[in-house]
Amino acid sequence: MHELSLAYSAIGEMQTILKKEGANKVNRIVFSVGALSGVDQEAFLFCFPLAAEGTPMEGVPLTMEDACLNLYCNSCNYEFINPEPIVICSKCQGVDVKVLSGQDFRIKEMEVE
């Protein structure tokens, strides 16, 4: 259960972003959850209000978007998307596959004012 740590990290990053933008109000937040990010969305949504208490993020509606694995096969130069965390080329079954995205948990979007 590292989602509480993630929630505190997210709040810290968002406070930095708000400061940089000169904003003090947040209307909505969109998170992008990579297939290989290891984030339990339900646990994160449970923990977030605890970390957000007393900050501009308190009570703000959250959207969690799934981010598929975006992969590239070095053998057959095929770029493809895999909703499952399996890194084998779906075209040539090659194993020399590079993960382009889908490993991270990101703050995708924030509406601020």
């Binding site: 259960m1 972003i17 290989l36 990010s37 890194v87 991270d104 990101r106």
Partner: protein, 289 residues
Amino acid sequence: MCRDCGCEEGNKKIMDQIHGHVHSHDHTHSHSHAAGHSHSHAGENAHSHSHDHSHDDAHSHSHDHSDNHSHQPSVPKTLQLEHKVLARNDQIADMNRAWFEQRELRCINIISSPGSGKTMLLEKSLDALQSKGVHTSVVVGDQQTDNDARRLSGKGAKVMQVNTHSSCHLNAEQVQKVLPDVIHEETELFIVENVGNLVCPAAFDLGENCKIALLSVTEGEDKPLKYPVLFATAECVVISKIDLLEHVDFCIETCVQNLRKINPKVTIIKCSARSGEGMDSWMDWLLPD
């Protein structure tokens, strides 16, 4: 014209040193100047402004309004960020990595579920490393106790225990803090034994060169499929406790197939720290030169 108030008299630039006009703003105000000009504001819209008067006899003053308001209405804007939630951890991990690189030492991060044999494997590894003259430092993460650090001490390596208390993983900052104490000039290999947990430690980069996952034969062959994050990012998976194979229903071939599905390039080492079987392969991997 006064560029602040708009009054005609302003252009006279007649000021004196006791000019100080503090006006609170509801928005009609007037002020007079000892030197003889006055102007007034009348406005319906609340706003704030600052006056920059230039004075012949150089002095400056500022005007404060009691009501805080701004001219710009707040307009919501959407920020397209794609900002990593663990950005700060990753930054510190990169600093750790640079620190290791500078000292030309290799850092490995060992992760597994509790009880899969991390400490036992390290006990035997430290004995072997000591006999090979490899200078090693170890950080052991556990929620409580220094039992593991005590088990690993007296084997030539510098060992430090980090208690994470309620936390289920080590983060980059916890490692950064102990580096000056645990790493010495001669350290060539730095091993982090992470908190026993298959999920959370995989998400936190510590700055290691690679992650190693342990999977004991007393666990299920499908662990790699159930916990893909760690097994997909590990460079090496050690299937441990193989001396127990005859007592359990663990099919090594199925486990290997599952691992390859998640991580086709992974190095798989089968060993038993207890019997010593496979320990040579493990040591060869640990010391690639």
